[in-house]
């Protein structure tokens, strides 16, 4: 009897393990499928000309260089605005803000910011940056719009990275007459740095894939040149992909998947970069 009972327990354990493993597999399959399918479909389009030429025939021929460069500019612009503001806000909220109704309201706002649909950010950018600030349909407007969207994630990850720095370090520093700011600057930030930078890179890689917000604040389908100033309009990979896939008739399928592949590589390479930075700085901080 004892043995039989043991057997049913073992069976239920095996069943549980099987289902858990299956669930994990199911989450991995779509990702692998997307990557493999994109490579298979679009791999043939990737040539040096495709990466280094301007588009012609409404994107049916030529390359996608301005879209690649536009996306990089966009990511850079987003980073420049979102990182300092996000980190400073994160520091303020964790280290300085008192726990009162205002702080709680701000925290609530940040959480909700992350849930706002991206097209709403686009409309916000259009009315504030493009029209009110008169930045026009431009790289600057788009960067600020994407930065506003990325901010929630940068603040949240910064705050988490800062909170993860053990309280003992702060106390040890404060207890020898070191000021709060010196403690933040020399103890907390160096420790939180890997987490902050990882969050920021992930946030901008997500921004790089956004189509909806930039649609209304400055992305153009076809431009004769590369943007010369922040006030110029620009091309971007996700918008280019959307247009060639949805609006250009007689588009070669391979070219569409080629654009998708490039976008995928750009975004994933930033994720890899984030992981690399995290590993590298973690090793250094442990000496």
């Amino acid at each position: 009897m004892a043995i039989a009972k043991f057997d049913t327990r073992r069976i239920s354990q095996r069943t549980a393990f099987t289902f858990l493993g299956l669930a994990t597999l199911i989450t991995v399959i779509p990702v692998l499928f997307i990557i493999v399918y994109t490579i298979v479909q679009g791999g043939g389009a990737i040539t040096w000309d495709f990466l280094s030429q301007f588009p012609s025939q409404a994107g049916r021929a030529g390359g996608i260089l301005p879209a690649i460069i536009g996306t990089f500019y966009l990511m850079l612009g987003t980073l420049v605005f979102a990182l300092p503001i996000g980190v400073l806000a994160g520091i303020y909220l964790t280290e300085y803000a008192r726990d009162n109704w205002l702080t709680r309201l701000i925290n609530l706002a940040i959480v909700n910011l992350a849930g706002v649909p991206s097209i709403v950010f686009g409309l916000f950018g259009l009315s504030v940056f493009v029209l009110a600030f008169n930045f026009g349909l431009s790289l600057l407007s788009a960067s600020l719009t994407l930065a506003a969207q990325a901010l929630a994630m940068v603040i949240t990850t910064s705050r988490e990275a800062i909170l993860a720095v053990p309280r003992e370090y702060r106390e040890g520093s404060l207890a020898i007459g070191v000021t709060k700011w010196q403690t933040v600057r020399h103890i907390v930030l160096p420790q939180a740095f890997p987490g902050i930078i990882t969050g920021a890179v992930l946030a901008i890689s997500r921004a790089a894939g956004e189509t909806a917000p930039i649609l209304v604040v400055g992305a153009a389908f076809l431009l004769p040149g590369i943007p010369q100033s922040p006030f110029d309009q620009f091309m971007a990979l996700p918008y280019h992909l959307y247009t060639v896939a949805a609006h250009v008739p007689n588009m070669p399928k391979e070219t569409i998947w080629g654009v998708a592949l490039v976008l995928l590589v750009v975004v994933l390479s930033f994720d890899v970069l984030a992981a690399a930075i995290r590993i590298k700085t973690r090793q250094r901080s442990q000496l």
Binding site: R98, D99, P166, E168, Y169, E171, G172, S173, L174, A175, I176, G177, V178, T179, Q182, H186, I187, Q191, S285, Q286, L287
Partner: protein, 273 residues
């Protein structure tokens, strides 16, 4: 409860060197509506070791943290009464808390070296206080590590991470870090509770050797440690409403051989209940 110790009582110290370094008068401490300390009055003599003992939750750590205003960091903490360092009230709006903590350093329960090299750990305080000269920093680091009885063990690995040291060495590194900013008072909050017995005895020896030049206050739940290491001992306990009170304060030898208060006797003989 006014148990004031005549500082002349401390027989192991030359009387003329001993003055009242810290003075706490009628201290009431609240965390929100909870009263953590009630009417505590005690004088801490200089150049000696004062131990605060008592059961868990009796407010001994809270008491310790009042002396360098670490309680300020706790939201809702409120202090009534007067605490003086060398006759100057420290709970005064004019007092620079940063400057106070420079003079009243603190060592914590869990060794907390910063995630940086041994050298940088010790040099951290002096650097933040404006010392930039490398030679001067090197001198301070060596002197502090020697004082903390750690120099011989780490002199060849100053560049290694402080986290790579053993627990006892880490705690001595933390003591060296405090010594490097030349404090007058060192507060120790259960400094040995995370250490093995041998490392504990080393820290105790170190404390004894520092007692000649510094005023040391140690909070410990280890009665035997308080007995071994201190010159003066304070016994605290909780009243029925959980507020901490000072029960007895006097020379260590007397407190452990012939306590005046029945409650102290019951606690140190294990008849507490």
């Amino acid at each position: 409860m006014n148990i004031n110790l005549d500082v002349q009582d401390i027989s192991t110290r030359p009387a003329e060197k001993c003055v009242t370094k810290l003075k706490a008068e009628n201290i009431n401490l609240y965390y929100g509506t909870f009263q953590a300390l009630r009417n505590v009055t005690l004088d801490i003599p200089s150049c000696s070791i004062t131990a605060i003992i008592g059961p868990s939750g009796c407010g001994k750590s809270s008491m310790l943290r009042l002396f360098n205003r670490m309680n300020d960091l706790i939201p809702g903490a409120r202090v009534e009464g007067n605490i003086e360092l060398d006759g100057i009230p420290i709970y005064n709006s004019k007092i620079d808390v940063v400057e106070l903590r420079k003079r009243v350093g603190m060592v914590f329960q869990k060794p907390n070296p910063f995630p940086m090299s041994v050298f940088e750990n010790v040099a951290f305080g002096p650097k933040r206080h404006g010392i930039k000269n490398r030679g001067e920093l090197e001198q301070i680091v060596e002197k502090s590590l020697r004082q903390a009885a750690l120099w011989d063990e780490v002199k060849d690995k100053l560049g290694q991470s402080g986290l790579a040291l053993s627990g006892g060495q880490q705690q001595r590194l933390c003591i060296a870090r405090v010594l490097a900013v030349e404090p007058e008072v060192i507060l120790m909050d259960e400094p040995c509770s995370a250490l093995d017995p041998v490392a504990t005895l080393k820290i105790e020896d170190l404390m004894r050797s520092l007692a000649a030049d510094y005023t040391i206050i140690i909070v410990t739940h280890n009665m035997q440690q308080a007995a071994r290491v201190s010159d003066t001992a304070a016994f605290m306990m909780m009243e029925p409403d959980r507020a901490g009170v000072l029960v007895e304060y006097g020379p260590t030898a007397q407190l452990f051989t012939n306590p005046k208060d029945k409650r102290t006797e019951d606690y140190i003989t294990g008849r507490f209940g």
